[in-house]
């Protein structure tokens, strides 16, 4: 009796000629997620089997795989010889002792002398005899015992299914540059886009010495949480202190955030192009704060010339974002009280609906290109 994990994938089966490409990325991502754990991944008629691991690591493997996009469901199974007695013993071991159940059989091994209905009935009957507190319920059972008779003469016996993360394998839908702050929203935005198969790079802006090292550490931690879902990521850290000082010195203070965001978008686009990213991703949610009005987005979006900007959280309420942040394991880090660069020099009354001609007039007071080059030169990259 060997333990194996059955992994079923979600939308890859919809793909046509490029299916092989999707499956390769998927298998590679699982390999990356399980790095450091002894295991083997085998492809087997439309699903994958994880085999050859230590029993005690089963839960950890399931936990790591639950972050891999592309997995629809998983089952922890026992692999036995295709023999009714052996199958029954395994079913006894993993099945419940009371409540309702049914047995579902999938027979790929057509040489086996019984058909799937007969196998289900035979195993179900023996379970009923052996465990008198069990009851059969075909329509709405509490437990489904799955039997998978494979062509190689072995049977996988499993109890129910564990939901996977869904989505598409990361790396099959290009690469995007995520603007990550220390807040709740941006990691969630990154995770949502990664779920559709996009590889993610991150850029973070800081204002040392106005912000501290803990703030940076917090962002690194958030990016590592995200990296668990995106098969790793690069975090680019850019210093915008001088830009903030120049805006503070030369421009109307109410435009601090508006102007700074335009700088961030320009810098992010240049970094994105440098690293082969095809879009920018932000955690903006419509109307959440003063800079996230449609006017604010128009202003910051208009400086991005070559790439689209994805804002997956635009239609989300804060509560919905928090829920997702909790589920991905980022929330507790996000709410730590460190300041990111946006709050330094924060005006008492930022402009909420900035007019383009005013923005341009304020921006004309700055040497935009020189400031961008200076900030880009400060970039540090951390591989996570």
């Amino acid at each position: 009796m060997e333990k194996v994990i059955i992994v079923r994938y979600s939308e890859i089966h919809l793909k046509g000629n490029n299916r092989g490409y999707f499956e390769r990325s998927f298998a590679e991502n699982m390999e990356k997620a399980l790095r450091g754990i002894k295991h083997e991944i085998r492809k087997h008629s439309g699903r994958y089997l994880i085999e050859g691991f230590d029993d005690e690591l089963t839960d950890e493997i399931v936990a790591r795989l639950s972050k891999v996009f592309g997995i629809h469901t998983m089952s922890v199974a026992i692999s036995v010889k295709s023999d009714l007695d052996e199958i029954f013993r395994a079913a006894c071991k993993i099945g419940p002792d009371y409540g309702t159940f049914k047995v579902e059989t999938h027979r790929a091994d057509k040489k086996f002398p019984m058909n799937s209905m007969e196998i289900s009935a035979a195993i179900g009957g023996r379970l009923l005899d052996y465990k008198p507190e069990l009851k059969v319920d075909i329509h709405n059972p509490q437990t489904v015992i799955g039997l998978d008779l494979r062509e190689n003469g072995t049977t996988l016996v499993f109890n129910g299914m564990i939901r996977g993360a869904g989505g598409m394998p990361v790396g099959t839908a290009g690469k995007g540059m995520l603007l990550i702050s220390g807040g709740i929203d941006s990691p969630v935005a990154g995770q949502m886009i990664a779920k559709r198969g996009m590889k993610i790079e991150c850029v973070h802006f800081h204002s040392y010495p106005y912000t501290n090292m803990q703030a940076r550490e917090k962002v690194e931690e958030l990016a590592s949480v995200l990296a668990g879902y995106t098969c790793g990521t690069n975090l680019h850290i850019v210093k915008v202190t001088h830009i903030q000082e120049e805006i503070h010195k030369k421009c109307n203070g109410e435009y601090m955030v508006t102007l700074l965001r335009r700088f961030m978008m320009r810098i992010a686009e240049r970094l994105a192009l440098r690293h082969g990213c095809q879009c920018l991703i932000t955690g903006e949610s419509l109307g959440q704060v003063a800079s996230q009005t449609i006017e604010g987005m128009t202003s910051s979006g208009s400086v991005v010339e070559k790439l689209p900007i994805l804002r997956p959280l635009c239609g989300f309420d804060k509560n919905e974002i928090i829920e997702r942040s909790r589920a991905m394991g980022a929330y507790e880090i996000s709410i730590r009280p460190y300041e990111d660069c946006c709050t330094v020099f924060l005006p008492r009354h930022p402009v909420i609906r900035p007019k383009m001609e005013d923005i341009l007039a304020e921006e004309a007071k700055l040497d935009v290109e020189a400031l961008i080059d200076e900030a880009l030169a400060s970039t540090e990259t951390v591989k996570l």
Partner: protein, 375 residues
């Protein structure tokens, strides 16, 4: 690197470390063990307890309970001394006491906070007015860790006892022990100290308590430290604490004068158009707290750090707290332009005049430059 954050922690004394090393490498036995090696160690530790108590009080009257830190000693004092009636403390306490008081409140004990004078010392009238016949414990910090103000805890304890002789009096002496001249008077029941503030190691502290005081244990187990603080003794840390403390007390007066000179040198070298001195003249010379006008303390901390100077902003233990502004400085009435720009400069006798002058120059130029940029 010039280190002026000695109130946060101090550099361990190399000679003490070397002497204490034997307790790490050779005398690694469990002092509770019955064989000779263990028993001898037990005897040595008993001597250390007596020696430590004698440094600050009469060791006929006081015993020492070693703990893992000053915070633990404060927790023991508050939770084991203040479980009924009401507890009186001050708004100027370190969070090691303040958070315990907040927890006691949650547990249903009435907690009263005495007001502060502008220099950070407790207002004696306010304190006394809060004490009544239901008061079980009064806790007053000895040297305020944010301003350096000294509370005359002996006198305060006497007036408290005169009003309610059954009330226990505790003082957090972490910033005073080994630094300012002081002897425990019999009115003080418990006194917390910490090793790493005087050149010994993090991981060691002590509660000095009146011998006749019966306390409930704070940590239960094998009955070490008079049964009040179970757990195998940190022999190395305790011996290191002893050596450093003895060294401090042998040179107490000289160190005090030396640090006082450094303190006044820095006071006069700082540009008074940029800084306001917040520490009192008659406070502990080991701490000099200033407010820099119109800048953020943390920004200055980072900038001077890059220029080779290490300083603090208020208490290092509360810089993680969600409240950005110091609760103690606010209670002292500091506000407006200064509350954001608080810097704590704290000394050790090993600092030199040269370092102080250099530090003043770095601070002056950094704050001036930052103010020009922020203006």
């Amino acid at each position: 690197m010039i280190y002026l954050d000695n109130a946060a922690t101090t550099k361990p004394y190399a000679d003490c470390l070397e002497r204490a090393g034997q307790y790490l490498i050779e005398k690694y036995y469990n002092p509770s063990a019955l064989y000779a090696e263990g028993y001898n160690l037990h005897r040595e530790l008993a001597e250390t307890h007596r020696k430590m108590a004698a440094l600050i009080g009469n060791n006929q009257d006081y015993s020492v309970i070693f703990t893992s830190c000053g915070t633990e000693a404060d927790n023991q004092a508050l939770f084991c001394g203040g479980r009924r009636g009401n507890v009186v403390t001050t708004s100027g306490e370190h969070s090691a006491v303040y958070s315990c008081a907040a927890r006691l409140k949650e547990l249903g004990v009435e907690v009263r906070f005495a007001a502060l004078n502008p220099d950070g010392s407790v207002n004696a009238d306010s304190l006394l007015s809060l004490v009544d016949d239901k008061t079980s414990l009064v806790s007053v910090i000895h040297v305020n860790n944010e301003t350096g103000a000294i509370n005359d805890v002996n006198a305060l304890a006497k007036t408290v006892k005169a009003k309610n002789s059954r009330a226990l009096f505790h003082s957090d002496g972490v910033q005073a022990f080994g630094k300012i001249p002081f002897r425990l008077s019999p009115a003080i029941d418990m006194y917390s100290v910490s090793a790493h503030k005087i050149g010994a190691l993090k991981g060691t502290g002590a509660l000095i308590k009146r011998k006749s005081l019966v306390l409930a244990p704070y940590i239960y187990g094998g009955g070490q430290e008079e049964g009040l603080r179970s757990g195998t003794e940190n022999v190395f840390g305790i011996k290191m604490f002893e050596y450093a403390a003895v060294k401090k007390y042998e040179n107490l007066k000289d160190n005090f004068e030396k640090v006082r000179a450094l303190n006044s040198l820095l006071r006069s070298a700082l540009d008074n158009g940029l800084f306001k001195i917040l520490s009192p003249e008659n406070g502990s010379p080991y701490i000099l707290t200033v407010g820099a006008y119109g800048v953020r303390g943390e920004t200055i901390l980072h900038e001077v750090n890059d220029k080779g100077l290490i300083i603090g902003t208020g208490s290092a233990c509360s810089s993680n707290s969600k409240l950005r502004h110091s609760r103690v400085m606010q209670a002292c009435g500091v506000g407006g332009e200064l509350i954001d720009g608080i810097l704590r400069l704290s000394f050790c006798p090993e600092n030199t005049e040269q370092e102080i002058l250099e530090a003043a120059q770095i601070l002056n130029s950094t704050v001036k430059n930052r103010r020009d940029k922020m203006a």
